[in-house]
């Protein structure tokens, strides 16, 4: 068992989240954006596990399992959307998908 302070653990999760966020902001390729979102999900789940371990409660892990379900659904729908997008626009650049904007 580890004796690392819980602050360090959470900081690690936070760093992971930040990397995911920066990736989401930087990349233009949708696949990479989806991957960044996965990283952020993971970081958030890790906070649940850390909290569960901290108070020795089972709920943290249960929440992680729910999160897995959400992630799975999100990824499958997201990838299907990417397929359609590539089908219609022949590109993976999100900036090409700008039809939903204010007309002026």
């Amino acid at each position: 068992m580890v004796t690392i302070p819980v602050e360090i653990q959470i900081l690690f999760a936070g760093l992971l989240f930040l990397i995911g966020l920066i990736g989401l902001l930087v990349r233009r390729n949708v696949i990479f954006m989806l991957m960044s979102i996965e990283v952020m999900f993971n970081a958030a789940g890790m906070v649940f596990i850390i909290a569960g371990a901290h108070w020795a409660q089972v709920d943290g892990q249960v929440m992680f399992i729910f999160m897995l379900a959400v992630t799975a659904a999100e990824v499958s729908v997201g990838l299907a959307i990417i397929l359609q997008m590539f089908h219609h626009y022949k590109t993976l650049d999100v900036d090409e998908l700008n039809k939903l904007k204010e007309i002026n």
């Binding site: 989401l24 902001l25 999100v94 900036d95 998908l97 700008n98 904007k101 204010e102 002026n104």
Partner: protein, 625 residues
């Protein structure tokens, strides 16, 4: 029995309500049946009420029925009360009878129109409003009918609203009569403040008691009421709307000109005759305005090309005669002329409408001609109407009514030779322009072929009205020939008799003179428009003719006097600081909107960036709390 009286205005109102709600869902035959049938029932009730009224004259000379209390606040009480006396009896008789015949005619005339139900709904409301107007026992209820009539005229003149010009004519009618209505409502306020009631009977009694002859208050009140009457009856300063009102369908013109609307002013003055008698200056103004209007409109009618516009100007002119009669104190003569005029003017409009209909909407009389043989029924009825309008001696009703007015204009104590001279000139003009119309449309060479003959429903009302145009005169024969005074005998119960100047010229002299004038006019029309058309053509090209054609350029005058300064002021006012403030608010909002809409650029990463910045911002603030 009295409740029957309330049914007379309520039946057409019910027709209006039913048709406006259900009009789109019931078959056209049903629409016609209800639209004309309810007026017909009202027209049948009217003689019944008249018989009751005449056989057993009610105490006080009037039958009144109160439906409910309308307004009761402070000192003001106004009830929905219908009051039938001799004057309103004459009016409701004419309104329901002529209104019914016009409705009957419309059943066929409007048969192919898509707005069939709408038309009958408006017409019913029109008749109902006019009946409320003449049956009202207080001025507030009268004003309700007054405004209802104005509204319906707007709706019906602009009936074919898809043509912008019709909408313009409707607005013109509405706005110009509004000027008169405003004067009238101010007059009502004045009367209420000083006499503390709006009930017409009480008002007249109190005015006679409280206000002396020629007092300034009475003068003002009469003047303001006169303003309302001028607007509705299209008299001199406010006459410009009526010729344009020809934009509506022909039955509407007939209804406006004969039974409703324009005669409301005549009714109002007759109804409040006590006030006018108290203000001799105003009464003189009424006579003068009538005399001027009948001349002005007579000259204009002489130059018009449009069949209906000739008739419109002739209406203005004939109403001028009624005003002249009222102005010289010949109340019953004015009302008699109203009744006779209603018959022959409705007849002329219906016959004219029939001509226009069978010629495929041809309005120009110079393009017609020779229709005498092709449309015999229309020709004969139109001829009878024209003869009555031109006051053809002895046989037509118009002769008796007009001759009476002319005689009173000379010999009543309020009359004077100038008014008489104007009236006589007007009579000459009337017969001239009327028979100009007859000769141009029905005689001469044939220029146009009618597409079909008018049907039974159109002919029957015309024949009935033609009979009335001939016969109605015999209920009131002048002293020199028969001396039958059925009509004025009836009206004398409520209207004062004329004060004559004794030792004047005999009546026969005037009758002969007006007969001669009338026949001369007809002969001149025959000469100028049938025998030697070149004479008429040469006159038509003059500038004077054009001046008359434009209705003495009143439109242009008002344009310069009122419209242009108003537009100029509005133009200045458009950029004052309040407007700048208001438009600045709008502009700033638009600017912010365009600024915000920049953020909605459809770029997903941009939105994510917005999210991230928001999160950072909120978290940083939370940290520092």
């Amino acid at each position: 029995m009295a409740i029957l009286l309330a049914l007379i205005p309520i039946l057409p109102l019910a027709g209006f309500l039913f048709l406006s709600i259900m009009g789109g869902r019931i078959p056209r035959r049903m629409i016609a049946f209800i639209g004309a049938g309810l007026i017909g029932m009202a027209a049948m009730l009217t003689p019944i009420m008249g018989l009751i009224f005449l056989v057993s004259p009610p105490p006080g000379g009037a039958i009144a029925v109160t439906l409910w209390e309308w307004i009761s606040t402070g000192g003001l009480t106004a009830a929905i009360t219908f009051r039938l006396d001799a004057l309103s009896l004459v009016f409701i008789f004419v309104i329901t009878l002529v209104g019914f015949l016009i409705h009957l005619y419309s059943v066929e005339f409007m048969a192919d129109d898509e707005g069939y139900a709408r038309f009958f709904a408006y017409m019913n409301l029109f008749v109902s409003s006019m009946l409320i107007l003449v049956l009202a026992d207080n001025l507030l209820l009268l004003y309700l009918g007054w405004e209802g009539v104005g509204l319906c005229s707007y709706l019906l003149i602009g009936f074919w609203y898809k043509e912008p010009a019709n909408g313009y004519a409707a607005r013109k009618a509405f706005i110009i009569t509004r000027i008169g209505d405003t004067a009238m409502i101010i007059g009502l306020f004045l009367l209420f403040i000083h006499l503390n009631t709006l009930n017409i009977q009480e008002l007249m009694q109190q005015a006679a008691v409280k206000w002396g002859q020629g007092s300034s208050l009475a003068t003002w009140a009469a003047l303001l009421l006169l303003g309302g009457a001028l607007g509705k009856s299209a008299q001199l300063p406010l006459q410009t709307w009526l010729p344009d009102a020809m934009a509506g369908p022909s039955p509407v013109s007939a209804l406006i000109h004969a039974a409703t609307m324009v005669t409301a002013g005549v009714y109002l003055i007759a109804r409040t005759h006590v006030l006018f008698a108290l203000a001799p200056a105003v009464q003189l103004a009424v006579a003068t305005i009538g005399a001027l209007t009948l001349l002005l409109a007579g000259f204009s009618a002489l130059t018009q090309h449009d069949l209906k516009r000739v008739l419109a100007y002739s209406t203005i002119s004939q109403i001028g005669y009624m005003f002249l009669a009222l102005g010289v104190g010949a109340w019953s003569a004015g009302i008699f002329h109203f009744m006779v005029h209603a018959f022959f003017k409705a007849l002329l409009f219906l016959a004219g409408g029939a001509v226009i209909l069978v010629l495929n909407e041809e309005h120009d009389i110079f393009k017609m001609g020779g229709l005498r043989k092709k449309l015999p029924v229309v020709f004969w009825t139109f001829l009878i109407g024209s003869a009555s309008l031109a006051a053809l001696p002895l046989i037509t009703a118009g002769f008796y009514s007009k001759d009476q007015i002319l005689w009173f204009a000379w010999s009543a104590n309020k009359g004077n030779p100038w008014l008489w001279a104007a009236g006589l000139t007007g009579a000459f003009l009337t017969s001239l322009y009327t028979f100009r119309l007859v000769f141009l449309v029905f005689f001469g060479e044939s220029k146009i072929q009618p597409t079909h003959q008018p049907g039974r429903l159109m002919v029957i009302p015309m024949v009935i009205l033609a009979a009335f145009s001939l016969l109605a005169g015999f209920i009131e024969l002048p002293g020199s020939m028969g001396h039958i005074r059925l009509f004025s005998g009836l009206l004398d119960t409520i209207l004062p008799t004329v004060n004559m100047i004794h030792g004047n010229l005999p009546e026969v002299f005037f009758q002969v003179l007006s007969a001669v004038v009338s026949l001369t006019g007809i002969y001149l029309a025959y000469l100028v428009y049938l025998k030697k058309p070149a004479l008429g053509d040469s006159f038509n090209k003059t500038r004077l003719s054009n001046f008359f054609y434009q209705g003495w350029d009143f439109d242009r005058l008002y344009d310069i006097l009122f419209v242009k300064p108003l537009v100029w002021l509005a133009e200045i006012d458009k950029n004052d600081f309040i407007d700048i403030f208001n438009s600045a608010i709008a502009r700033i909002t638009l600017w912010f909107s365009s600024l915000l809409s920049l953020t909605q650029n459809g770029k997903l990463r941009w939105y994510v960036m917005g999210f991230a910045i928001g999160i950072v911002f909120i978290l940083t603030i939370l940290m520092n709390l």
